[in-house]
């Protein structure tokens, strides 16, 4: 049973436009959500997170939105840059327990 799902394996966006990466979850006990970015042959790098008591968290070009009723979160990158091209993993935890990762979305930002 996949508790965290990223249904789009890939996304292609033009430089300067907005990238929107989506993530759905099934476990209503999840109370903390994170996005990680991963380049090939490197470990995942923490990008941004959000607690379930919030619906939005912003850090520079990156904004994460949480819709608890829909069990959905999204990562917005604006403006997108070629250096943002990477695989993005959504992850969730309940009560500070084990992190559950989604399958990842490969973002390609074209110049």
């Amino acid at each position: 049973d996949q508790q965290v799902k990223q249904n789009s394996p890939s996304l292609s966006v033009q430089e300067g436009r907005i990238s929107i990466l989506n993530c759905d979850y099934t476990n209503s006990m999840f109370d903390y959500f994170l996005w990680y970015k991963k380049y090939p042959a490197e470990g995942p790098t923490f990008l941004i997170s959000i607690s379930s008591i919030k619906d939005k968290n912003e850090d520079g070009r990156f904004t994460v939105f949480l819709n608890k009723s829909a069990k959905h979160l999204s990562l917005h990158i604006v403006p997108s840059q070629p250096g943002d091209s990477a695989v993005y993993f959504c992850a969730a935890s309940a009560l500070r327990g084990k992190l559950i990762f989604g399958q990842g979305t490969e973002l390609s930002v074209k110049p």
Binding site: P9, A41, E42, G43, R96
Partner: protein, 113 residues
């Protein structure tokens, strides 16, 4: 120092070899993790050490043996591996077991022949 350092970056071993992967962090983190990642898949949790004690073993085969000699070091001893064990092995740490954010190392790419 805000890094998790893993060595070696690449390792090729035969099925009868014994080798070890090493992980080091000097951030004072007291929870350390081993993950396995296959291509195009998310990281899969293998082991968790909390305050230098093994707290989680995700039913990992005994050919993988973790060790936490002190609060800064984490090893993964490998013996009699199978070709399907070829993967990227990621070490990660958290400030405390209850913290939210994991910091990952760059990984050790293992190939089993």
């Amino acid at each position: 120092d805000t890094e998790v350092t893993q060595t070696p970056k690449h390792l090729v071993m035969g099925m009868t070899n014994k080798k070890s992967l090493k992980c080091e962090q000097h951030m004072g983190h007291r929870a350390m993790y081993w993950y396995k990642q296959k291509a195009k898949k998310p990281p899969e949790l293998m082991f968790v050490y909390s305050y230098e004690k093994l707290s989680i073993n995700e039913s990992v085969p005994s050919r993988f043996s973790p060790e936490c000699p002190n609060s800064s070091l984490l090893n993964l001893h490998l013996h009699a591996l199978q070709p399907e064990d070829s993967a990227l092995y990621l070490c990660a740490s958290k400030r405390t077991p209850g913290a939210n954010v994991l910091t990952f190392g760059a990984g050790s790419r293992l190939t089993v022949l």
